[in-house]
Symmetry: C2
Subunit: 85 residues, 2 copies
């Protein structure tokens, strides 16, 4: 278990880096267009984020689990959209 004070720093970091990603998801769904998105790049990123998620579980870091869990879902929604269109 990580010091709760440290988790405040981690959760603040998670909030900033994850929320910066939301406008792109919104833009894709609003414009129903993901042509500007590289599927290969998203699959590499998604694999990396899943590994971060596993790492978070291994070291017991709530911040890493939450940040990468949410990011993985956002990225998965973009990958599914890209594959269907």
């Amino acid at each position: 278990m990580i010091n709760p004070v440290f988790e405040i720093v981690g959760l603040s970091a998670a909030f900033l880096t994850t929320s910066a990603f939301i406008p792109q998801v919104y833009k894709i769904y609003k414009e129903k267009n993901a042509d500007g998105i590289s599927l290969t790049m998203y699959i590499i990123l998604f694999t990396g984020v899943i590994l971060w998620f596993i790492y978070g579980i291994l070291i017991g870091s709530l911040s890493i689990i939450i940040a990468n869990g949410v990011t993985a879902l956002l990225q998965l929604s973009i990958i599914i959209f890209k594959l269907k269109n």
Copy 2:
């Protein structure tokens, strides 16, 4: 100190999520154009990455320190390019 086996998972994650970011930096420098980049978004992301870096030091995670140290430098180079142009 985190279990070295766990760090292999973390460093693999770091390699994937950080290297996915390199083509964008390359594209900006090659085209000498960062018009498609939102400065506000990059400043928010940069702040988040610095907080992750601090979090990595606090919990003693080499993977988080390396991943976010490298990402911070890449983002800073984009922010400086954007401010100068």
